[in-house]
């Protein structure tokens, strides 16, 4: 089964769908036309660029280049986690928190899978390392962003309850325990749901891609299972780490609630 190559003309036809959506959203005054067009344009440019990068990477197996691309992906994902927070920790703390959580969960899981599970030769083969990292960053980022956003928003809304618990002598972490738990749950539930419906309601992306590219269905399924497990582990550990660290940073060394450490994003 050979892959049918898509031409620019084919893609232009698909782009008409996006234009039609933008026109409809303009007529309905949804205020989204601009965002739709800009996002679509970004998709084209960013994917073209990463295509060129991958083409280059696959011809070289120098680990330095792979590390460089991975770090850039990490920083971009860290920034994305930050900008999705309505109330962020001030200064560089917000960026550091998201990026560190992404790094710890994603990099550990990917290294484990590359060396132990796939055992590619060399283990950092870009054909395996880069797509896996990309899948993981993309999903883990969502979980961390959701969890942190829920944490800071709820802490802001329920400051009186948190302080009432502090006043009664609870420790800072006892006083925010319910909010912390709910925030971690909200970060993890989408990926758990995705696992639960995989194959029944949705054909996940990796599998779809491999089948389109002509892979045998069972091979595609095996990779999809691997990716699902990685993504769930990365999202889970990353969200737990980020929310736990965030919940600590909401208090100072006297265990006072310090909402002045948050500032509202200007949207």
């Amino acid at each position: 089964m050979a892959l049918i190559t898509l031409t620019p003309w084919d893609l232009s036809l698909a782009a008409l769908l996006i234009v039609a959506l933008a026109v409809l959203s303009f007529q309905m005054q949804l205020g989204l036309s601009r965002s739709i067009l800009i996002a679509a344009l970004r998709t084209v440019i960013q994917l073209m660029l990463i295509g060129l990068v991958l083409k280059f990477l696959f011809n070289t197996t120098h680990p330095g280049w792979i590390v460089l691309v991975s770090v850039m992906m990490l920083l971009a994902a860290g920034r994305e986690v930050m900008v999705r927070q309505q109330r962020r920790f001030s200064g560089t703390r917000s960026f550091m928190l998201g990026t560190l959580s992404l790094f710890i969960s994603t990099v550990v899981v990917t290294l484990l899978v590359l060396t132990v599970v796939i055992s590619a030769d060399p283990w950092y083969s870009p054909q395996y390392a880069i797509p896996l990292l990309g899948m993981l960053f993309g999903n883990t980022m969502n979980g961390i962003a959701l969890g942190l956003d829920r944490l800071t928003q709820t802490a802001w809304q329920q400051r009186d309850v948190i302080e009432a618990r502090l006043i009664l002598g609870q420790t800072s972490q006892q006083s925010i325990s319910d909010i912390r738990r709910e925030s971690i749950r909200s970060g993890m539930i989408p990926i758990i749901n995705a696992m639960a419906v995989a194959g029944i309601v949705s054909l996940p992306g990796v599998m779809t891609g491999q089948i389109l590219a002509g892979a045998a269905p069972m091979d595609a399924v095996n990779y999809q299972i691997l990716i699902m497990f990685m993504v769930t582990a990365g999202t889970g550990f990353g969200t737990i780490f980020a929310v736990t660290m965030g919940a600590r940073h909401l208090f100072d060394d006297r265990e006072r609630l310090r909402l002045d450490r948050l500032h509202k994003a200007i949207v």
Partner: protein, 219 residues
């Protein structure tokens, strides 16, 4: 450090506030001796709550607070706040049932049944859902919840605002009893001059961020 200091007959459980400064409040100083109650008045927004929050160490601020001559920094934040029984004007209930807001080990034994009776509440109220409580029940239960920590100081912000006259009398009596038994220092905030005259022996008013002593609890 958990037992109120009572050496011989000399009462030592006193609250000392030195040069407290928070936003537009202070610097101000105040000492409340043990087994004594003072009253505190002032218009809304004058800084009464800021002062209470500073003493309970809930906001960053300047100044020192000592209990029995021991500076606050000797204790962790939670340890300190257990000693300083601060009752905010509005109580918060985070659990679905009243019982969840009490220490499981203390709830049945201890003084809690006695305190419930003293405030005209039935023991069964502990099993009630918090959503079904009236504002008066909430206010009285919040006081009992606070006393269960055995604080050495009581900072009461309008503790009888939503109570009928009968229950106002009950709360005043319970606070008075607790004050004498534990020999604790009490700061009572209220807009009711007559009440302040009844419950406190010294009177203060906060105006323009300053604390002014008064002979009686009205102008």
């Amino acid at each position: 450090m958990n037992i109120p200091a009572k050496r011989g007959n000399v009462a030592l459980s006193c609250l000392q506030i030195k040069n407290i400064q928070a936003r537009h409040l202070g610097p101000l100083s105040l000492t409340v001796s043990s087994d004594a109650a003072i009253s505190l008045r002032g218009q809304s927004g004058c800084g009464k709550s800021l002062l209470m929050r500073a003493v309970a160490d809930l906001d960053p601020h300047l100044g020192e607070v000592m209990l029995d001559g021991v500076p606050r920094e000797e204790f962790s934040g939670p340890q300190w706040r257990k000693k300083i029984g601060y009752l905010p004007a509005v109580s918060q209930w985070w659990g679905d049932y009243v019982r969840e807001h009490f220490d499981e080990e203390k709830i049945d034994q201890d003084q809690i049944p006695k305190w419930l009776a003293a405030l005209g509440l039935k023991q069964a109220v502990l099993e009630a859902a918090t959503a079904t409580l009236s504002s008066g029940e909430r206010q009285r239960l919040a006081l009992i919840r606070l006393l269960a920590n055995r604080p050495q100081v009581l900072l009461l912000d309008e503790p009888t605002a939503s109570l009928d006259p009968e229950n106002v009398t009950r709360v005043e009596a319970l606070v008075g009893d607790y004050q004498h038994q534990q020999r604790c220092a009490v700061v009572w905030i209220s807009h009711d001059h007559q009440q302040l005259q009844r419950v406190a022996s010294r009177h203060f008013v906060i105006t323009q961020g300053r604390l002014i002593a008064q002979e009686v609890a009205w102008r």
